[in-house]
Amino acid sequence: MRIGEVLVVGAKANDNSELIRRICPQIETTKTGICWGMLQLDDQMALQLYGINWEQSAKRFAWDLLCQKALGVIVVFDWEQMETFQETAAILDYFNDQFAIPIVVAAKLEGNTSHIPEKAYRGGLTLSKLSRFTFYQPDNPQSIRQLIVDLININLEVMPS
Protein backbone atom coordinates (compact mmCIF):
# COMPACT_ATOMS: atom_id res chain seq x y z
CA MET A 1 0.00 0.00 0.00
CA ARG A 2 1.34 3.41 -0.99
CA ILE A 3 0.25 6.20 1.31
CA GLY A 4 0.66 9.87 0.50
CA GLU A 5 0.47 12.36 3.32
CA VAL A 6 -1.12 15.77 3.14
CA LEU A 7 -1.08 18.41 5.87
CA VAL A 8 -4.11 20.61 6.28
CA VAL A 9 -3.27 23.67 8.36
CA GLY A 10 -5.46 26.58 9.29
CA ALA A 11 -6.14 28.99 12.10
CA LYS A 12 -9.52 27.40 12.71
CA ALA A 13 -9.60 23.73 13.64
CA ASN A 14 -13.14 23.49 12.30
CA ASP A 15 -12.07 24.47 8.80
CA ASN A 16 -9.42 21.76 8.80
CA SER A 17 -11.65 18.99 10.08
CA GLU A 18 -14.54 20.06 7.84
CA LEU A 19 -12.30 19.82 4.79
CA ILE A 20 -10.95 16.39 5.72
CA ARG A 21 -14.36 15.05 6.70
CA ARG A 22 -15.75 16.00 3.30
CA ILE A 23 -13.48 13.57 1.45
CA CYS A 24 -12.57 10.96 4.05
CA PRO A 25 -15.21 8.45 5.14
CA GLN A 26 -13.89 8.37 8.67
CA ILE A 27 -12.08 10.98 10.69
CA GLU A 28 -10.35 10.85 14.05
CA THR A 29 -10.20 13.99 16.17
CA THR A 30 -8.36 14.96 19.33
CA LYS A 31 -9.00 17.68 21.86
CA THR A 32 -5.83 19.49 20.85
CA GLY A 33 -6.94 20.61 17.43
CA ILE A 34 -5.48 17.68 15.53
CA CYS A 35 -7.48 15.35 13.32
CA TRP A 36 -6.77 12.87 10.60
CA GLY A 37 -8.55 10.81 8.03
CA MET A 38 -7.73 8.41 5.25
CA LEU A 39 -8.88 8.59 1.67
CA GLN A 40 -8.58 5.19 0.03
CA LEU A 41 -8.12 5.65 -3.71
CA ASP A 42 -7.81 1.96 -4.63
CA ASP A 43 -6.35 -1.17 -3.07
CA GLN A 44 -2.84 0.12 -3.75
CA MET A 45 -3.04 3.81 -3.00
CA ALA A 46 -4.35 6.00 -0.22
CA LEU A 47 -3.97 9.48 1.13
CA GLN A 48 -3.61 10.29 4.80
CA LEU A 49 -4.75 13.80 5.64
CA TYR A 50 -3.63 15.44 8.87
CA GLY A 51 -5.52 18.49 10.05
CA ILE A 52 -3.50 20.62 12.43
CA ASN A 53 -4.72 23.76 14.12
CA TRP A 54 -2.38 26.73 13.85
CA GLU A 55 -1.91 28.68 17.02
CA GLN A 56 0.80 30.49 18.90
CA SER A 57 2.54 27.31 19.99
CA ALA A 58 2.22 25.67 16.59
CA LYS A 59 5.78 26.48 15.60
CA ARG A 60 6.98 24.01 18.20
CA PHE A 61 5.17 21.21 16.43
CA ALA A 62 7.28 18.55 14.69
CA TRP A 63 6.73 20.09 11.29
CA ASP A 64 10.15 19.05 10.08
CA LEU A 65 9.22 15.38 10.48
CA LEU A 66 5.89 15.79 8.73
CA CYS A 67 7.21 18.01 5.98
CA GLN A 68 9.91 15.55 5.00
CA LYS A 69 7.46 13.06 3.59
CA ALA A 70 4.28 14.98 2.94
CA LEU A 71 3.06 15.77 -0.54
CA GLY A 72 2.45 19.28 0.69
CA VAL A 73 0.50 21.60 2.91
CA ILE A 74 -2.98 22.95 2.33
CA VAL A 75 -3.31 26.22 4.21
CA VAL A 76 -7.00 26.79 4.77
CA PHE A 77 -8.77 30.03 5.56
CA ASP A 78 -12.20 31.53 5.21
CA TRP A 79 -12.32 34.09 2.41
CA GLU A 80 -15.20 35.91 4.02
CA GLN A 81 -13.50 36.27 7.40
CA MET A 82 -10.65 38.62 6.86
CA GLU A 83 -9.50 38.44 10.47
CA THR A 84 -8.00 35.05 9.63
CA PHE A 85 -6.10 36.57 6.74
CA GLN A 86 -3.18 37.83 8.85
CA GLU A 87 -2.77 34.45 10.48
CA THR A 88 -2.83 32.80 7.08
CA ALA A 89 -0.08 35.12 5.89
CA ALA A 90 1.94 34.18 8.98
CA ILE A 91 1.43 30.45 8.37
CA LEU A 92 2.47 30.84 4.77
CA ASP A 93 5.56 32.86 5.68
CA TYR A 94 6.52 30.27 8.25
CA PHE A 95 6.31 27.35 5.84
CA ASN A 96 7.96 29.29 3.02
CA ASP A 97 10.84 30.22 5.30
CA GLN A 98 11.37 26.86 6.91
CA PHE A 99 10.55 24.21 4.34
CA ALA A 100 10.78 23.49 0.66
CA ILE A 101 7.35 21.98 0.50
CA PRO A 102 4.50 22.54 -1.95
CA ILE A 103 1.80 24.74 -0.46
CA VAL A 104 -1.71 25.41 -1.66
CA VAL A 105 -3.38 28.36 0.02
CA ALA A 106 -7.02 27.37 -0.08
CA ALA A 107 -9.59 30.11 0.43
CA LYS A 108 -12.95 28.76 1.52
CA LEU A 109 -15.64 30.39 -0.50
CA GLU A 110 -19.35 29.94 0.04
CA GLY A 111 -21.75 31.61 -2.33
CA ASN A 112 -20.82 35.01 -3.75
CA THR A 113 -17.57 34.90 -5.71
CA SER A 114 -17.55 38.48 -6.92
CA HIS A 115 -16.61 40.15 -3.68
CA ILE A 116 -12.87 40.50 -3.35
CA PRO A 117 -11.80 42.00 -0.05
CA GLU A 118 -9.37 44.87 -0.33
CA LYS A 119 -6.69 43.11 1.68
CA ALA A 120 -6.56 40.28 -0.80
CA TYR A 121 -5.00 42.33 -3.53
CA ARG A 122 -2.71 44.36 -1.36
CA GLY A 123 0.11 41.88 -1.46
CA GLY A 124 -0.63 40.37 1.95
CA LEU A 125 0.17 36.78 0.98
CA THR A 126 3.63 36.05 -0.28
CA LEU A 127 3.56 33.10 -2.63
CA SER A 128 6.84 31.37 -3.37
CA LYS A 129 7.47 29.31 -6.47
CA LEU A 130 6.26 26.28 -4.51
CA SER A 131 2.97 27.83 -3.48
CA ARG A 132 -0.33 28.48 -5.22
CA PHE A 133 -3.47 30.31 -4.27
CA THR A 134 -6.88 28.87 -5.02
CA PHE A 135 -10.48 28.86 -3.89
CA TYR A 136 -12.48 25.85 -2.81
CA GLN A 137 -16.07 25.13 -2.04
CA PRO A 138 -16.39 23.39 1.33
CA ASP A 139 -19.46 21.43 0.26
CA ASN A 140 -17.97 20.11 -2.93
CA PRO A 141 -15.68 17.06 -2.47
CA GLN A 142 -14.33 17.43 -6.00
CA SER A 143 -13.27 20.98 -5.25
CA ILE A 144 -11.37 19.68 -2.20
CA ARG A 145 -9.80 16.85 -4.17
CA GLN A 146 -8.63 19.48 -6.64
CA LEU A 147 -6.57 21.09 -3.84
CA ILE A 148 -4.61 17.85 -3.51
CA VAL A 149 -4.29 17.65 -7.29
CA ASP A 150 -2.79 21.15 -7.17
CA LEU A 151 -0.25 19.95 -4.61
CA ILE A 152 0.63 17.00 -6.83
CA ASN A 153 1.04 19.34 -9.79
CA ILE A 154 3.55 21.44 -7.88
CA ASN A 155 5.43 18.27 -6.94
CA LEU A 156 5.49 17.21 -10.58
CA GLU A 157 6.75 20.63 -11.65
CA VAL A 158 9.77 20.55 -9.36
CA MET A 159 10.50 16.83 -9.62
CA PRO A 160 13.31 15.96 -12.03
CA SER A 161 11.86 14.20 -15.07
Binding site: R2, L41, M45, K69, F99, A100, Y121, L130, N155
Partner: protein, 398 residues
Protein backbone atom coordinates in the same frame (compact mmCIF):
# COMPACT_ATOMS: atom_id res chain seq x y z
CA UNK B 1 -16.11 54.12 -14.86
CA UNK B 2 -13.51 53.79 -12.09
CA UNK B 3 -10.02 54.04 -13.60
CA UNK B 4 -7.86 50.95 -13.25
CA UNK B 5 -4.39 51.57 -11.78
CA UNK B 6 -1.52 49.13 -11.79
CA UNK B 7 1.01 49.69 -9.00
CA UNK B 8 4.41 48.10 -9.51
CA UNK B 9 6.78 48.21 -6.58
CA UNK B 10 9.05 45.99 -4.54
CA UNK B 11 7.84 47.28 -1.18
CA UNK B 12 4.46 48.70 -0.14
CA UNK B 13 5.09 52.45 -0.40
CA UNK B 14 2.57 53.10 -3.17
CA UNK B 15 0.11 50.50 -1.93
CA UNK B 16 0.04 52.16 1.47
CA UNK B 17 -0.37 55.62 -0.02
CA UNK B 18 -3.28 54.50 -2.18
CA UNK B 19 -4.96 52.56 0.60
CA UNK B 20 -7.73 55.10 1.10
CA UNK B 21 -8.41 55.67 -2.57
CA UNK B 22 -9.96 52.33 -3.43
CA UNK B 23 -13.29 53.99 -4.10
CA UNK B 24 -11.79 56.35 -6.63
CA UNK B 25 -9.56 53.84 -8.40
CA UNK B 26 -9.53 50.11 -9.02
CA UNK B 27 -6.09 49.08 -7.86
CA UNK B 28 -3.98 46.07 -8.73
CA UNK B 29 -0.53 45.54 -7.27
CA UNK B 30 2.45 43.67 -8.70
CA UNK B 31 5.94 43.30 -7.31
CA UNK B 32 8.19 42.96 -10.33
CA UNK B 33 8.64 44.29 -13.84
CA UNK B 34 7.77 40.97 -15.44
CA UNK B 35 4.57 40.75 -13.43
CA UNK B 36 3.76 44.29 -14.51
CA UNK B 37 4.24 43.45 -18.20
CA UNK B 38 2.02 40.40 -17.86
CA UNK B 39 -0.61 42.33 -15.89
CA UNK B 40 -0.71 45.05 -18.57
CA UNK B 41 -1.55 42.47 -21.21
CA UNK B 42 -4.16 40.89 -18.98
CA UNK B 43 -5.78 43.84 -17.25
CA UNK B 44 -5.33 46.79 -19.66
CA UNK B 45 -4.86 49.34 -16.86
CA UNK B 46 -5.68 53.01 -17.41
CA UNK B 47 -2.43 54.09 -15.79
CA UNK B 48 0.72 52.49 -14.42
CA UNK B 49 2.53 53.75 -11.34
CA UNK B 50 5.91 52.17 -10.81
CA UNK B 51 8.90 52.48 -8.52
CA UNK B 52 12.24 53.00 -10.24
CA UNK B 53 13.82 50.05 -8.48
CA UNK B 54 11.96 46.80 -9.12
CA UNK B 55 13.51 43.44 -8.25
CA UNK B 56 14.03 42.35 -11.84
CA UNK B 57 14.32 45.59 -13.79
CA UNK B 58 14.35 49.34 -13.46
CA UNK B 59 11.13 51.32 -13.85
CA UNK B 60 12.64 53.02 -16.91
CA UNK B 61 13.24 49.62 -18.52
CA UNK B 62 9.64 48.71 -17.77
CA UNK B 63 8.27 51.82 -19.47
CA UNK B 64 10.61 51.26 -22.40
CA UNK B 65 9.16 47.76 -22.91
CA UNK B 66 5.62 49.06 -22.56
CA UNK B 67 6.16 51.78 -25.12
CA UNK B 68 7.35 49.22 -27.67
CA UNK B 69 4.09 47.34 -27.43
CA UNK B 70 1.24 48.89 -29.37
CA UNK B 71 -1.37 47.91 -26.81
CA UNK B 72 0.44 49.78 -24.01
CA UNK B 73 2.26 52.55 -25.82
CA UNK B 74 -0.16 55.28 -24.74
CA UNK B 75 -0.90 54.13 -21.19
CA UNK B 76 0.08 56.92 -18.76
CA UNK B 77 3.15 55.96 -16.77
CA UNK B 78 4.19 57.59 -13.50
CA UNK B 79 7.64 56.83 -12.13
CA UNK B 80 8.55 57.18 -8.45
CA UNK B 81 12.17 57.57 -7.54
CA UNK B 82 14.51 59.00 -4.95
CA UNK B 83 16.72 60.34 -7.74
CA UNK B 84 16.30 64.09 -7.86
CA UNK B 85 18.91 65.18 -10.35
CA UNK B 86 18.07 66.59 -13.71
CA UNK B 87 19.90 63.89 -15.65
CA UNK B 88 17.79 61.13 -14.04
CA UNK B 89 14.61 63.03 -14.87
CA UNK B 90 15.65 63.58 -18.46
CA UNK B 91 16.52 59.90 -18.87
CA UNK B 92 13.15 58.93 -17.41
CA UNK B 93 11.24 61.24 -19.72
CA UNK B 94 13.24 59.97 -22.71
CA UNK B 95 12.35 56.39 -21.91
CA UNK B 96 8.65 57.27 -22.09
CA UNK B 97 7.69 58.27 -18.55
CA UNK B 98 4.79 60.74 -18.41
CA UNK B 99 5.28 61.95 -14.86
CA UNK B 100 8.26 61.76 -12.57
CA UNK B 101 7.56 61.95 -8.84
CA UNK B 102 10.29 62.18 -6.23
CA UNK B 103 10.11 60.18 -3.04
CA UNK B 104 8.77 60.97 -0.51
CA UNK B 105 5.61 62.33 -2.07
CA UNK B 106 2.28 63.82 -1.08
CA UNK B 107 -0.64 61.68 -2.23
CA UNK B 108 -2.69 64.76 -3.11
CA UNK B 109 -0.05 65.83 -5.61
CA UNK B 110 0.11 62.36 -7.13
CA UNK B 111 -3.65 62.25 -7.40
CA UNK B 112 -3.79 65.65 -9.11
CA UNK B 113 -1.12 64.72 -11.66
CA UNK B 114 -2.70 61.35 -12.24
CA UNK B 115 -6.10 62.85 -12.90
CA UNK B 116 -4.60 65.16 -15.51
CA UNK B 117 -2.93 62.21 -17.22
CA UNK B 118 -6.13 60.19 -17.17
CA UNK B 119 -8.08 63.09 -18.63
CA UNK B 120 -5.48 63.51 -21.37
CA UNK B 121 -5.64 59.81 -22.15
CA UNK B 122 -9.34 60.08 -22.86
CA UNK B 123 -8.63 62.57 -25.62
CA UNK B 124 -6.11 60.28 -27.32
CA UNK B 125 -7.21 58.05 -30.18
CA UNK B 126 -7.74 54.45 -29.15
CA UNK B 127 -4.71 52.24 -29.47
CA UNK B 128 -4.17 51.26 -33.06
CA UNK B 129 -3.51 47.51 -33.18
CA UNK B 130 -7.09 46.47 -33.50
CA UNK B 131 -8.05 49.22 -35.95
CA UNK B 132 -7.32 47.13 -38.99
CA UNK B 133 -6.28 43.84 -37.54
CA UNK B 134 -6.72 41.51 -34.63
CA UNK B 135 -4.83 40.50 -31.55
CA UNK B 136 -4.76 37.67 -29.06
CA UNK B 137 -2.80 35.23 -27.00
CA UNK B 138 -0.45 32.67 -28.54
CA UNK B 139 -1.58 30.13 -26.02
CA UNK B 140 -5.05 30.23 -27.53
CA UNK B 141 -4.17 30.79 -31.16
CA UNK B 142 -0.71 29.69 -32.17
CA UNK B 143 1.40 30.84 -35.08
CA UNK B 144 0.38 27.95 -37.33
CA UNK B 145 -3.29 28.95 -36.92
CA UNK B 146 -2.44 32.56 -37.64
CA UNK B 147 -0.56 31.79 -40.84
CA UNK B 148 -3.36 29.52 -42.01
CA UNK B 149 -5.91 32.22 -41.28
CA UNK B 150 -4.04 34.79 -43.35
CA UNK B 151 -3.56 32.29 -46.14
CA UNK B 152 -7.27 31.49 -46.25
CA UNK B 153 -8.13 35.16 -46.62
CA UNK B 154 -5.19 35.81 -49.00
CA UNK B 155 -4.32 38.70 -46.66
CA UNK B 156 -1.37 41.06 -46.60
CA UNK B 157 -0.02 42.20 -43.27
CA UNK B 158 2.49 41.85 -40.48
CA UNK B 159 2.10 39.44 -37.57
CA UNK B 160 3.71 41.00 -34.50
CA UNK B 161 4.61 38.59 -31.70
CA UNK B 162 5.76 39.44 -28.19
CA UNK B 163 7.08 36.95 -25.68
CA UNK B 164 8.60 38.24 -22.43
CA UNK B 165 10.85 40.99 -23.73
CA UNK B 166 11.37 39.46 -27.16
CA UNK B 167 9.63 40.49 -30.30
CA UNK B 168 9.13 38.81 -33.62
CA UNK B 169 7.56 39.81 -36.93
CA UNK B 170 6.26 37.76 -39.82
CA UNK B 171 5.55 39.45 -43.12
CA UNK B 172 2.71 37.97 -45.14
CA UNK B 173 1.70 39.06 -48.64
CA UNK B 174 -1.45 37.74 -50.26
CA UNK B 175 -1.43 34.85 -47.83
CA UNK B 176 2.18 33.87 -48.58
CA UNK B 177 4.89 34.18 -45.94
CA UNK B 178 7.61 36.50 -47.27
CA UNK B 179 9.95 37.03 -44.37
CA UNK B 180 10.33 36.80 -40.61
CA UNK B 181 12.58 38.34 -38.01
CA UNK B 182 13.35 37.95 -34.34
CA UNK B 183 16.34 38.80 -32.16
CA UNK B 184 18.46 39.70 -35.17
CA UNK B 185 17.67 36.48 -37.04
CA UNK B 186 15.88 36.71 -40.36
CA UNK B 187 14.04 34.55 -42.86
CA UNK B 188 13.28 30.87 -42.45
CA UNK B 189 15.46 30.46 -39.39
CA UNK B 190 13.56 33.21 -37.60
CA UNK B 191 10.24 31.70 -38.64
CA UNK B 192 11.19 28.28 -37.26
CA UNK B 193 12.30 29.93 -34.02
CA UNK B 194 8.97 31.74 -33.73
CA UNK B 195 7.08 28.45 -34.04
CA UNK B 196 8.49 27.50 -30.64
CA UNK B 197 6.76 30.47 -28.99
CA UNK B 198 3.87 28.78 -27.27
CA UNK B 199 3.15 31.74 -25.01
CA UNK B 200 3.02 35.49 -25.43
CA UNK B 201 0.74 37.78 -27.38
CA UNK B 202 0.26 38.67 -31.01
CA UNK B 203 -1.46 41.24 -33.12
CA UNK B 204 -1.92 41.26 -36.85
CA UNK B 205 -1.65 44.53 -38.68
CA UNK B 206 -3.23 44.50 -42.11
CA UNK B 207 -0.91 46.79 -44.00
CA UNK B 208 1.33 46.50 -47.02
CA UNK B 209 5.10 46.49 -46.58
CA UNK B 210 8.12 47.19 -48.68
CA UNK B 211 10.27 44.09 -48.34
CA UNK B 212 11.90 41.52 -50.60
CA UNK B 213 10.60 37.97 -50.44
CA UNK B 214 13.12 35.85 -48.52
CA UNK B 215 11.09 32.75 -47.69
CA UNK B 216 10.19 30.83 -50.83
CA UNK B 217 8.53 27.87 -49.10
CA UNK B 218 4.82 27.44 -49.92
CA UNK B 219 2.43 27.99 -47.02
CA UNK B 220 1.34 24.35 -46.83
CA UNK B 221 4.93 23.29 -46.31
CA UNK B 222 5.42 26.02 -43.70
CA UNK B 223 2.29 24.89 -41.88
CA UNK B 224 3.35 21.27 -41.92
CA UNK B 225 6.82 22.18 -40.61
CA UNK B 226 5.28 24.51 -38.05
CA UNK B 227 2.98 21.80 -36.71
CA UNK B 228 5.87 19.39 -36.42
CA UNK B 229 8.02 21.92 -34.59
CA UNK B 230 5.21 22.96 -32.24
CA UNK B 231 4.38 19.36 -31.29
CA UNK B 232 7.98 18.32 -30.89
CA UNK B 233 8.80 21.45 -28.90
CA UNK B 234 5.99 20.79 -26.44
CA UNK B 235 6.99 17.17 -26.14
CA UNK B 236 10.63 18.02 -25.45
CA UNK B 237 9.70 20.79 -23.03
CA UNK B 238 7.95 18.23 -20.85
CA UNK B 239 11.25 16.49 -20.29
CA UNK B 240 12.93 19.61 -18.97
CA UNK B 241 12.54 21.99 -16.05
CA UNK B 242 11.06 25.41 -16.83
CA UNK B 243 12.83 27.12 -19.70
CA UNK B 244 13.97 30.00 -17.52
CA UNK B 245 15.94 27.57 -15.36
CA UNK B 246 19.64 28.32 -15.27
CA UNK B 247 21.87 25.34 -16.02
CA UNK B 248 25.34 24.49 -14.87
CA UNK B 249 27.79 21.66 -15.37
CA UNK B 250 27.58 18.79 -12.94
CA UNK B 251 30.75 17.14 -14.19
CA UNK B 252 33.11 17.16 -17.12
CA UNK B 253 32.34 14.65 -19.88
CA UNK B 254 34.59 11.62 -20.26
CA UNK B 255 36.78 11.28 -23.31
CA UNK B 256 34.62 10.56 -26.41
CA UNK B 257 31.47 10.50 -24.25
CA UNK B 258 29.81 13.24 -26.33
CA UNK B 259 30.13 14.43 -29.91
CA UNK B 260 31.06 17.89 -31.18
CA UNK B 261 27.48 19.15 -31.30
CA UNK B 262 27.00 18.21 -27.66
CA UNK B 263 30.28 19.93 -26.84
CA UNK B 264 29.12 23.09 -28.57
CA UNK B 265 25.96 23.19 -26.48
CA UNK B 266 27.83 22.26 -23.32
CA UNK B 267 30.05 25.28 -23.85
CA UNK B 268 26.95 27.46 -23.48
CA UNK B 269 26.16 25.94 -20.08
CA UNK B 270 27.93 28.29 -17.70
CA UNK B 271 25.77 28.61 -14.60
CA UNK B 272 24.44 31.96 -15.78
CA UNK B 273 22.32 31.27 -18.83
CA UNK B 274 18.87 29.77 -18.81
CA UNK B 275 17.65 27.01 -21.11
CA UNK B 276 15.87 29.51 -23.33
CA UNK B 277 18.98 31.68 -23.59
CA UNK B 278 21.04 28.63 -24.50
CA UNK B 279 18.51 27.81 -27.23
CA UNK B 280 18.78 31.37 -28.52
CA UNK B 281 22.57 31.29 -28.65
CA UNK B 282 22.82 27.75 -29.96
CA UNK B 283 24.54 27.12 -33.28
CA UNK B 284 22.06 24.30 -34.03
CA UNK B 285 18.29 24.51 -34.37
CA UNK B 286 15.94 24.82 -31.39
CA UNK B 287 14.66 21.25 -31.34
CA UNK B 288 18.09 19.71 -31.68
CA UNK B 289 19.35 22.00 -28.92
CA UNK B 290 16.61 20.85 -26.57
CA UNK B 291 17.31 17.21 -27.47
CA UNK B 292 20.98 17.68 -26.67
CA UNK B 293 20.20 19.45 -23.39
CA UNK B 294 17.94 16.56 -22.38
CA UNK B 295 20.66 14.07 -23.29
CA UNK B 296 23.24 16.00 -21.29
CA UNK B 297 20.82 15.94 -18.34
CA UNK B 298 20.39 12.19 -18.71
CA UNK B 299 24.12 11.67 -18.82
CA UNK B 300 24.41 13.66 -15.61
CA UNK B 301 26.77 16.16 -17.22
CA UNK B 302 24.55 19.16 -16.50
CA UNK B 303 21.97 20.03 -13.89
CA UNK B 304 19.91 22.97 -12.68
CA UNK B 305 22.03 25.66 -11.13
CA UNK B 306 21.52 25.72 -7.39
CA UNK B 307 23.57 28.78 -6.86
CA UNK B 308 22.76 31.03 -9.72
CA UNK B 309 23.48 34.49 -8.43
CA UNK B 310 21.65 37.32 -10.05
CA UNK B 311 23.89 40.30 -9.30
CA UNK B 312 21.36 42.84 -10.48
CA UNK B 313 18.63 41.44 -8.28
CA UNK B 314 21.00 41.10 -5.35
CA UNK B 315 22.18 44.69 -5.64
CA UNK B 316 18.65 46.00 -5.87
CA UNK B 317 17.43 43.90 -2.95
CA UNK B 318 20.10 44.08 -0.31
CA UNK B 319 21.64 47.48 0.27
CA UNK B 320 18.82 48.83 2.39
CA UNK B 321 18.60 45.86 4.71
CA UNK B 322 22.09 44.57 4.95
CA UNK B 323 24.94 46.58 6.44
CA UNK B 324 27.84 46.54 4.04
CA UNK B 325 30.54 46.94 6.69
CA UNK B 326 32.54 48.76 4.13
CA UNK B 327 32.65 45.76 1.81
CA UNK B 328 31.99 46.43 -1.82
CA UNK B 329 29.58 44.37 -3.91
CA UNK B 330 32.38 42.42 -5.65
CA UNK B 331 33.64 41.28 -2.25
CA UNK B 332 30.15 40.04 -1.42
CA UNK B 333 30.03 38.21 -4.71
CA UNK B 334 33.33 36.56 -3.99
CA UNK B 335 32.09 35.53 -0.58
CA UNK B 336 29.00 34.10 -2.19
CA UNK B 337 31.06 32.15 -4.64
CA UNK B 338 33.05 30.65 -1.76
CA UNK B 339 29.85 29.73 0.05
CA UNK B 340 28.50 28.25 -3.17
CA UNK B 341 31.56 26.08 -3.60
CA UNK B 342 31.27 24.97 0.01
CA UNK B 343 27.66 23.91 -0.45
CA UNK B 344 28.43 22.21 -3.74
CA UNK B 345 31.07 20.20 -1.98
CA UNK B 346 28.82 19.03 0.78
CA UNK B 347 26.04 18.32 -1.69
CA UNK B 348 28.14 15.99 -3.79
CA UNK B 349 26.88 12.37 -3.90
CA UNK B 350 29.80 11.10 -1.90
CA UNK B 351 29.09 13.39 1.03
CA UNK B 352 27.56 12.06 4.21
CA UNK B 353 23.86 12.28 5.00
CA UNK B 354 24.11 14.85 7.79
CA UNK B 355 24.70 17.55 5.20
CA UNK B 356 20.99 18.01 4.74
CA UNK B 357 20.81 19.50 8.15
CA UNK B 358 23.40 22.04 7.13
CA UNK B 359 21.89 22.91 3.81
CA UNK B 360 18.31 23.36 4.89
CA UNK B 361 19.62 26.27 6.93
CA UNK B 362 21.59 28.08 4.25
CA UNK B 363 24.04 30.83 4.92
CA UNK B 364 22.22 34.13 5.47
CA UNK B 365 24.15 35.79 2.68
CA UNK B 366 22.25 33.80 0.05
CA UNK B 367 19.25 35.62 -1.32
CA UNK B 368 15.83 34.27 -0.41
CA UNK B 369 15.33 32.98 -3.92
CA UNK B 370 18.57 31.06 -3.86
CA UNK B 371 17.79 29.61 -0.47
CA UNK B 372 14.60 28.31 -1.97
CA UNK B 373 16.46 26.73 -4.85
CA UNK B 374 18.73 24.94 -2.38
CA UNK B 375 15.81 23.63 -0.42
CA UNK B 376 13.85 22.59 -3.47
CA UNK B 377 16.79 20.61 -4.71
CA UNK B 378 17.21 18.86 -1.43
CA UNK B 379 13.65 18.07 -0.64
CA UNK B 380 12.01 15.60 -3.00
CA UNK B 381 11.77 13.05 -0.28
CA UNK B 382 8.19 12.12 -0.95
CA UNK B 383 7.95 8.39 -1.38
CA UNK B 384 6.45 8.61 -4.86
CA UNK B 385 7.83 8.43 -8.34
CA UNK B 386 6.61 10.77 -11.06
CA UNK B 387 4.42 8.07 -12.62
CA UNK B 388 2.88 7.22 -9.26
CA UNK B 389 2.05 10.87 -8.66
CA UNK B 390 0.40 11.05 -12.06
CA UNK B 391 -1.62 7.95 -11.21
CA UNK B 392 -2.57 9.45 -7.87
CA UNK B 393 -3.73 12.55 -9.68
CA UNK B 394 -5.88 10.55 -12.07
CA UNK B 395 -7.49 8.66 -9.19
CA UNK B 396 -8.30 11.92 -7.44
CA UNK B 397 -9.89 13.37 -10.53
CA UNK B 398 -12.13 10.37 -11.13
Amino acid sequence: MTPKLLLAEADNTLTTAFRNLSEKYQIAVVHSGKQALAACQRESPDAILAAQHLPDMEGTQLVHSLRKNKSTQYVPFVLFSEELNLQARVEAIKSGVDEFISLPFEIEEVQARLDVLLAEKKTLPQTPPVERGFSGNLHEMNLVDLIQTLELGQKTGVIHLTKNNHEGKIYVKNGEVWDAETNGILGEKALMRLFTWDEGVFYVEFQDFDRERVIAMPVQEIVSKGLKITDEWLHLKNHLPKLNTVLERAREPYLDEIDQQHTNILELVDGEHSIEQIVENSPVDELETLRIIIHLFELGIIHESLFYFDTEKYNSETPKEEPTNGKSAPVKEKLLAVISRFFKKILSPSSSTFTEEVVTRPAPTLSKENQEKVKVKLKNKIPFQRTELQMLKRKLLV
